[in-house]
């Protein structure tokens, strides 16, 4: 979709009285969607899921972008405290059950947000992984929510050009060798290996937001 098509779709949702929200993980490339949405409608709330395991740099980056673009950000945190997120050895779940860790810290916190809204805007892109290649621009999600993926067919270059055109700041860790930046325990510097920077060594490539919270 180009910018006009994205704007048209959002205006259409609004004219239908739909309640819209967006999510952002505040990785480096997230800033394109955030800027774009802010240009179209600055009233769309941006939900930021703070799992508790993010890099401090990501939180600082979020604060920087929020101030720069004057974003309406709502921070969501897991309701299960970390002392209750341990396995039978007393270790945090990311050391043995990363899927469950993602469920408690990302998927579950967003579920209640879905129940209060109609349209969920997410910046997923088809080129990011196999799962996302199979997504459509509009998909169904739980609680009768429609997922809207405006950047689905945007390439790395389009994103890069957009960020450059509007001179948007990059994530501080991008210059330190990180490509895909999520929770610290499951993120790996790309300099160690050219494979994906998340869940290195596991078959896992998604946290669950784009697999569990989608109805195919």
């Amino acid at each position: 979709m180009n910018l006009e098509e994205i704007e048209y779709q959002i205006r259409l949702f609004k004219s239908e009285g739909k309640k819209i929200f967006a999510t952002s993980s505040f990785q480096g490339q997230s800033v394109a969607l955030l800027h774009l949405l802010n240009t179209i409608d600055s009233g769309i709330p941006i939900y930021f899921i703070n799992t508790g395991f993010l890099f401090p740099d990501t939180i600082s980056y979020k604060d920087t972008i929020a101030k720069l673009l004057n974003l309406y950000i709502i921070e969501v945190r897991p309701s299960v405290p970390k002392n209750l997120q341990k396995d039978s050895s007393g270790n945090l779940l990311y050391t043995s059950e990363p899927d469950f860790c993602c469920h408690l810290n990302k998927v579950q916190p967003l579920d209640s947000i879905l129940a209060e809204n109609d349209i969920w805007i997410s910046g997923v892109r088809a080129s990011q992984n196999e799962n996302r290649k199979g997504l459509n621009t509009l998909e169904k999600a739980p609680h009768n929510v429609t997922r809207f993926h405006p950047l689905l067919n945007w390439t790395d270059k389009i994103i890069y050009d957009y960020i450059k055109k509007f001179n948007l700041p990059s994530h501080p860790l991008e210059n330190s060798g990180y490509i895909s930046i999520g929770c610290e325990p499951c993120t790996r510097k790309s300099e160690y290996d050219i494979r994906e920077g998340r869940w290195f060594g596991l078959n896992k490539s998604e946290c669950g937001l784009h697999t569990d919270l989608i109805i195919k």
């Binding site: 703070n50 508790g52 395991f53 401090p56 740099d57 939180i59 600082s60 945190r77 405290p81 970390k82 002392n83 997120q85 007393g90 270790n91 945090l92 050391t95």
Partner: protein, 308 residues
């Protein structure tokens, strides 16, 4: 002023509680501790009067409880930590769990509160080792899981710098007699062994230098920095740099009959000398003593308090 001390039942926390309890401007102190070391001495021997000090048993990862407690707190001292136990096989994950993610949870809870000051006790171990003396401008390069996790904790705390008065204090190896004292750090262990077993164990060739600070000085600085008007930032707190063999020689002067047993004496162990940070030295209000005086005092306390 209401104060929260995480790890308040520990070695430093107990001494800090004793001192803060005497302050007229401190109305309430909450000790938040999970008693993971099974050290109950603060309850038994601290002689803290009932009234000002409250104890809440809790885990530093328990964000729900922390949020509730922080509602009326003005000042937070974050001392809770998984600490180094030499030669243990403890999982590196536990350091990360408590010192990194525990600190992160606390910082998030503080951000949602009306806390006005945050004081985090970090460690000189974030510098790792160096053949050159290190100071506050030296780039950290931790070499132990403990040091790495304390530095990760600092990164979370740094986010508070432009929000509230926030002090990160990189403390040297803490020593000195205290109600809840630990015996896994070199000086306290030497003093205990010199007093009660007659034989102290030195690892490596003993020539390794370490940076030390007396617990009373650390507590004095923690108490005084709160009202110092200092800018948010990172500070070093080190009082004396001395080699392990110099320590053991000094202790032998005080206890002439003791023996020293050298273990792995062919090894040259890592070296760390930290230049004292003048900014914090200025906050020390207790009388200056040399190491010999401190050790003699230490030995008298052991002598008066216990069996031979």
């Amino acid at each position: 002023m209401k104060v929260l001390i995480t790890g308040g039942a520990g070695y430093i926390g107990t001494e800090l509680t004793i001192q803060l309890e005497k302050e007229t401007n401190v109305n309430e102190i909450i000790i938040y501790d999970n008693l993971s070391r099974n050290n109950y001495n603060i309850f038994l021997h601290s002689r803290i009067k009932r009234g000002k000090v409250k104890f809440i048993k809790g885990d530093i990862l328990d964000s729900r409880k922390l949020k509730e407690i922080l509602k009326d707190i003005d000042v937070v001292y974050h001392l809770a930590a998984r600490v180094t136990t030499p030669f243990s096989n403890e999982s590196p994950h536990l350091f990360e769990q408590v010192n990194n993610w525990g600190t992160a949870e606390l910082v998030y809870a503080v951000e949602d509160s009306n806390v006005k000051k945050f004081i985090y006790v970090s460690s000189s171990s974030v510098y790792g080792s160096s053949d050159n003396k290190v100071d506050i401008n030296t780039f950290p390069n931790p070499e132990t899981f403990y040091g790495i996790s304390k530095l990760q904790g600092e990164k979370h705390v740094e986010r508070l710098f432009n929000k509230i008065d926030t002090y990160i204090i990189r403390s040297g190896n803490v020593y000195g007699f205290g109600v809840s004292m630990r015996f896994d750090a070199v000086i306290n262990k030497f003093m205990f062994d010199a007093s009660f077993t007659g034989r102290i164990s030195v690892n490596g060739n003993g020539k390794q230098h370490r940076a030390f600070v007396h617990v009373d000085k650390l507590v004095d600085v923690l108490k005084n920095i709160n009202l110092s008007g200092y800018k948010s930032g990172i500070y070093n707190l080190v009082d004396k740099n001395i080699s392990v063999i110099e320590l053991s020689d000094l202790i032998k002067d005080i206890y002439p009959d003791i023996e020293m047993i050298f273990i792995n004496q062919h090894l040259k162990l890592r070296e760390l000398i930290v230049i004292p940070d003048d900014r914090l030295q200025k906050l020390i209000s207790i009388p200056e003593k040399n190491l010999r005086e401190e050790f003699e005092e230490f030995s008298i306390k052991f002598h008066n308090s216990s069996i031979e």
